[in-house]
Protein backbone atom coordinates (compact mmCIF):
# COMPACT_ATOMS: atom_id res chain seq x y z
CA UNK A 1 0.00 0.00 0.00
CA UNK A 2 2.79 2.34 -0.89
CA UNK A 3 0.44 4.85 -2.49
CA UNK A 4 -1.75 5.12 0.59
CA UNK A 5 1.34 5.58 2.76
CA UNK A 6 2.77 8.28 0.46
CA UNK A 7 -0.50 10.21 0.29
CA UNK A 8 -0.82 9.90 4.05
CA UNK A 9 2.67 11.24 4.70
CA UNK A 10 3.00 13.81 1.92
CA UNK A 11 -0.60 14.92 1.38
CA UNK A 12 -2.23 15.27 -2.07
CA UNK A 13 0.14 14.38 -4.92
CA UNK A 14 0.25 14.23 -8.70
CA UNK A 15 1.16 11.06 -10.57
CA UNK A 16 4.53 12.59 -11.39
CA UNK A 17 5.33 13.04 -7.70
CA UNK A 18 4.00 9.59 -6.87
CA UNK A 19 6.20 8.00 -9.52
CA UNK A 20 9.28 9.92 -8.44
CA UNK A 21 11.93 7.78 -6.86
CA UNK A 22 9.78 4.67 -7.14
CA UNK A 23 10.70 1.44 -8.86
CA UNK A 24 7.05 0.95 -9.82
CA UNK A 25 6.00 2.02 -13.31
CA UNK A 26 3.65 4.92 -13.87
CA UNK A 27 1.26 2.49 -15.51
CA UNK A 28 1.16 0.29 -12.41
CA UNK A 29 0.66 3.29 -10.17
CA UNK A 30 -2.20 4.57 -12.33
CA UNK A 31 -3.84 1.17 -12.24
CA UNK A 32 -3.53 1.04 -8.50
CA UNK A 33 -4.93 4.55 -8.11
CA UNK A 34 -7.96 3.57 -10.18
CA UNK A 35 -8.59 0.56 -7.96
CA UNK A 36 -8.28 2.70 -4.83
CA UNK A 37 -10.58 5.26 -6.43
CA UNK A 38 -13.25 2.64 -7.16
CA UNK A 39 -13.00 1.56 -3.54
CA UNK A 40 -13.59 5.16 -2.51
CA UNK A 41 -10.25 5.48 -0.76
CA UNK A 42 -8.74 8.18 -2.98
CA UNK A 43 -10.14 10.83 -5.25
CA UNK A 44 -8.60 13.13 -7.80
CA UNK A 45 -9.22 16.56 -9.18
CA UNK A 46 -7.80 18.41 -12.12
CA UNK A 47 -5.83 21.47 -11.01
CA UNK A 48 -4.59 23.38 -14.02
CA UNK A 49 -2.56 20.90 -16.04
CA UNK A 50 -2.12 18.37 -13.25
CA UNK A 51 -4.39 15.73 -11.80
CA UNK A 52 -3.92 15.69 -8.03
CA UNK A 53 -4.75 12.61 -5.99
CA UNK A 54 -5.78 12.76 -2.35
CA UNK A 55 -6.66 10.26 0.37
CA UNK A 56 -10.27 9.98 1.52
CA UNK A 57 -9.27 9.77 5.16
CA UNK A 58 -12.72 9.21 6.59
CA UNK A 59 -13.41 6.38 4.18
CA UNK A 60 -10.05 4.91 5.02
CA UNK A 61 -10.89 5.00 8.72
CA UNK A 62 -14.23 3.27 8.03
CA UNK A 63 -12.55 0.58 5.97
CA UNK A 64 -9.96 0.02 8.68
CA UNK A 65 -12.68 -0.31 11.32
CA UNK A 66 -14.52 -2.86 9.22
CA UNK A 67 -11.36 -4.85 8.61
CA UNK A 68 -10.57 -4.72 12.33
CA UNK A 69 -13.96 -6.24 13.09
CA UNK A 70 -13.41 -9.09 10.66
CA UNK A 71 -9.87 -9.52 11.93
CA UNK A 72 -11.08 -9.78 15.53
CA UNK A 73 -13.66 -12.37 14.57
CA UNK A 74 -10.91 -14.38 12.96
CA UNK A 75 -8.79 -14.02 16.12
CA UNK A 76 -11.64 -15.50 18.14
CA UNK A 77 -12.22 -18.30 15.65
CA UNK A 78 -8.52 -19.16 15.57
CA UNK A 79 -8.39 -19.27 19.37
CA UNK A 80 -11.11 -21.90 19.17
CA UNK A 81 -9.14 -23.78 16.51
CA UNK A 82 -6.11 -23.75 18.78
CA UNK A 83 -8.16 -25.16 21.66
CA UNK A 84 -9.61 -27.76 19.34
CA UNK A 85 -6.30 -29.09 17.93
CA UNK A 86 -4.08 -28.66 20.97
CA UNK A 87 -6.29 -30.18 23.65
CA UNK A 88 -7.63 -33.53 22.70
Amino acid sequence: MIIVARLCEDGPLSIVRLTEGSAISRQAITKHLNTLSKAGLVRSEQTGRERIWRLQTQRLAEVRRYLTQISEQWDDALDRLRTFVEHD
Binding site: A5, A39, R65, Y66, L81, R82, T83
Partner: protein, 165 residues
Protein backbone atom coordinates in the same frame (compact mmCIF):
# COMPACT_ATOMS: atom_id res chain seq x y z
CA UNK B 1 -1.01 4.04 7.89
CA UNK B 2 0.63 1.30 5.87
CA UNK B 3 -1.65 -1.64 6.73
CA UNK B 4 -3.37 -3.13 3.68
CA UNK B 5 -7.02 -2.27 3.01
CA UNK B 6 -7.83 -5.23 0.79
CA UNK B 7 -6.72 -8.15 2.91
CA UNK B 8 -6.30 -9.64 6.39
CA UNK B 9 -3.31 -11.85 7.11
CA UNK B 10 -2.69 -13.90 10.23
CA UNK B 11 -0.13 -16.46 11.18
CA UNK B 12 -0.36 -18.75 14.20
CA UNK B 13 1.80 -21.54 15.50
CA UNK B 14 -0.25 -24.56 16.61
CA UNK B 15 1.30 -27.17 18.85
CA UNK B 16 -0.22 -30.05 16.97
CA UNK B 17 0.94 -32.22 14.09
CA UNK B 18 0.23 -31.11 10.55
CA UNK B 19 -2.28 -33.85 9.82
CA UNK B 20 -4.29 -32.97 12.93
CA UNK B 21 -4.47 -29.33 11.86
CA UNK B 22 -5.23 -30.31 8.27
CA UNK B 23 -8.24 -32.40 9.28
CA UNK B 24 -9.48 -29.73 11.70
CA UNK B 25 -9.59 -27.32 8.78
CA UNK B 26 -10.54 -29.43 5.78
CA UNK B 27 -13.12 -31.74 7.36
CA UNK B 28 -16.52 -30.03 7.41
CA UNK B 29 -17.60 -31.61 10.72
CA UNK B 30 -14.38 -30.66 12.49
CA UNK B 31 -14.25 -27.18 10.99
CA UNK B 32 -17.86 -26.64 12.00
CA UNK B 33 -17.29 -27.76 15.57
CA UNK B 34 -14.61 -25.16 16.36
CA UNK B 35 -15.92 -22.45 14.08
CA UNK B 36 -19.40 -22.73 15.59
CA UNK B 37 -21.58 -23.84 12.72
CA UNK B 38 -23.16 -26.94 11.20
CA UNK B 39 -22.48 -27.60 7.52
CA UNK B 40 -24.99 -29.42 5.35
CA UNK B 41 -22.36 -31.43 3.48
CA UNK B 42 -18.65 -32.16 3.25
CA UNK B 43 -15.98 -29.95 1.70
CA UNK B 44 -15.32 -30.74 -1.96
CA UNK B 45 -13.32 -28.51 -4.32
CA UNK B 46 -15.71 -26.42 -6.41
CA UNK B 47 -18.76 -27.17 -4.26
CA UNK B 48 -21.10 -24.67 -2.57
CA UNK B 49 -21.88 -25.55 1.03
CA UNK B 50 -24.49 -24.12 3.35
CA UNK B 51 -23.70 -23.70 7.03
CA UNK B 52 -26.01 -22.74 9.87
CA UNK B 53 -25.23 -21.23 13.27
CA UNK B 54 -26.27 -23.86 15.77
CA UNK B 55 -27.29 -22.75 19.27
CA UNK B 56 -26.02 -24.69 22.23
CA UNK B 57 -28.18 -27.26 24.02
CA UNK B 58 -25.97 -27.13 27.08
CA UNK B 59 -26.84 -23.81 28.63
CA UNK B 60 -30.39 -22.44 28.45
CA UNK B 61 -29.24 -18.90 29.20
CA UNK B 62 -26.74 -18.91 26.38
CA UNK B 63 -29.26 -20.64 24.12
CA UNK B 64 -31.70 -17.82 24.79
CA UNK B 65 -29.06 -15.28 23.71
CA UNK B 66 -28.43 -17.34 20.60
CA UNK B 67 -32.09 -17.52 19.68
CA UNK B 68 -32.06 -14.57 17.23
CA UNK B 69 -29.20 -16.22 15.34
CA UNK B 70 -30.52 -19.78 15.45
CA UNK B 71 -30.39 -21.32 12.03
CA UNK B 72 -28.77 -18.22 10.53
CA UNK B 73 -27.39 -19.56 7.29
CA UNK B 74 -24.49 -18.58 5.09
CA UNK B 75 -22.86 -20.15 2.07
CA UNK B 76 -19.25 -20.93 1.34
CA UNK B 77 -17.82 -21.90 -2.04
CA UNK B 78 -14.92 -24.30 -1.73
CA UNK B 79 -11.99 -23.26 -3.89
CA UNK B 80 -8.88 -25.44 -3.50
CA UNK B 81 -8.07 -28.50 -1.45
CA UNK B 82 -4.36 -29.39 -1.60
CA UNK B 83 -4.06 -32.15 1.00
CA UNK B 84 -2.02 -31.19 4.06
CA UNK B 85 -1.01 -27.89 2.45
CA UNK B 86 -3.78 -25.51 1.46
CA UNK B 87 -7.52 -25.12 1.85
CA UNK B 88 -9.43 -22.16 0.48
CA UNK B 89 -13.02 -21.00 0.09
CA UNK B 90 -14.97 -17.92 -0.90
CA UNK B 91 -17.71 -16.33 1.14
CA UNK B 92 -19.27 -13.08 2.24
CA UNK B 93 -17.36 -12.41 5.46
CA UNK B 94 -19.45 -13.36 8.50
CA UNK B 95 -22.60 -12.61 6.51
CA UNK B 96 -25.47 -13.73 8.72
CA UNK B 97 -27.67 -10.63 8.71
CA UNK B 98 -31.06 -11.76 7.31
CA UNK B 99 -31.88 -8.17 6.34
CA UNK B 100 -29.08 -8.00 3.77
CA UNK B 101 -29.04 -9.69 0.36
CA UNK B 102 -25.40 -10.61 -0.12
CA UNK B 103 -25.88 -12.54 -3.33
CA UNK B 104 -25.07 -9.61 -5.61
CA UNK B 105 -21.81 -8.79 -3.85
CA UNK B 106 -18.30 -10.02 -4.56
CA UNK B 107 -16.95 -12.58 -2.14
CA UNK B 108 -13.67 -12.64 -0.30
CA UNK B 109 -11.23 -15.52 -0.60
CA UNK B 110 -10.13 -17.21 2.63
CA UNK B 111 -6.95 -19.30 2.39
CA UNK B 112 -5.46 -21.59 5.01
CA UNK B 113 -1.86 -22.64 4.39
CA UNK B 114 -0.03 -25.19 6.54
CA UNK B 115 3.66 -25.76 7.10
CA UNK B 116 5.31 -28.24 9.45
CA UNK B 117 7.74 -26.70 11.92
CA UNK B 118 9.75 -28.36 14.71
CA UNK B 119 7.22 -27.42 17.42
CA UNK B 120 4.06 -28.17 15.45
CA UNK B 121 2.30 -26.52 12.53
CA UNK B 122 2.51 -22.97 11.25
CA UNK B 123 -0.87 -21.88 9.94
CA UNK B 124 -1.23 -18.82 7.71
CA UNK B 125 -4.72 -17.45 7.14
CA UNK B 126 -5.34 -14.86 4.46
CA UNK B 127 -8.64 -13.24 3.60
CA UNK B 128 -8.45 -11.11 0.47
CA UNK B 129 -10.69 -9.21 -1.92
CA UNK B 130 -12.10 -6.61 0.45
CA UNK B 131 -11.57 -3.74 -1.97
CA UNK B 132 -14.16 -5.37 -4.22
CA UNK B 133 -16.87 -5.01 -1.59
CA UNK B 134 -18.91 -1.84 -2.02
CA UNK B 135 -17.74 0.78 0.42
CA UNK B 136 -21.29 1.75 1.32
CA UNK B 137 -21.97 -1.79 2.48
CA UNK B 138 -18.73 -1.93 4.43
CA UNK B 139 -19.44 1.31 6.26
CA UNK B 140 -23.05 0.29 6.86
CA UNK B 141 -22.01 -3.09 8.16
CA UNK B 142 -19.80 -1.37 10.67
CA UNK B 143 -22.32 1.24 11.80
CA UNK B 144 -25.33 -1.06 12.05
CA UNK B 145 -23.65 -4.14 13.41
CA UNK B 146 -21.02 -2.90 15.79
CA UNK B 147 -22.77 -4.36 18.83
CA UNK B 148 -24.23 -7.17 16.75
CA UNK B 149 -20.89 -8.52 15.60
CA UNK B 150 -19.49 -8.53 19.11
CA UNK B 151 -22.50 -10.30 20.53
CA UNK B 152 -22.42 -12.89 17.77
CA UNK B 153 -18.76 -13.59 18.33
CA UNK B 154 -19.33 -14.05 22.04
CA UNK B 155 -22.21 -16.42 21.42
CA UNK B 156 -20.23 -18.59 19.08
CA UNK B 157 -17.33 -18.60 21.48
CA UNK B 158 -19.50 -19.62 24.43
CA UNK B 159 -21.14 -22.32 22.38
CA UNK B 160 -17.88 -23.87 21.30
CA UNK B 161 -16.41 -23.68 24.77
CA UNK B 162 -19.47 -25.36 26.26
CA UNK B 163 -19.65 -28.13 23.71
CA UNK B 164 -15.93 -28.76 24.08
CA UNK B 165 -16.40 -29.77 27.71
Amino acid sequence: MATPTDRIEKQILLRAPQDRVWHAISDAKQFGSWFGVEFESGFVAGASIIGRIVPTKVDPEVAKMQEPYAGAAFQIHIDRIDPMQLFSFRWHPFAVDPAIDYSTEPMTLVTFELAAVPTGTMLTITESGFDQIPLARRAKAFAANDGGWQAQTQLIEKYVMLTAQ
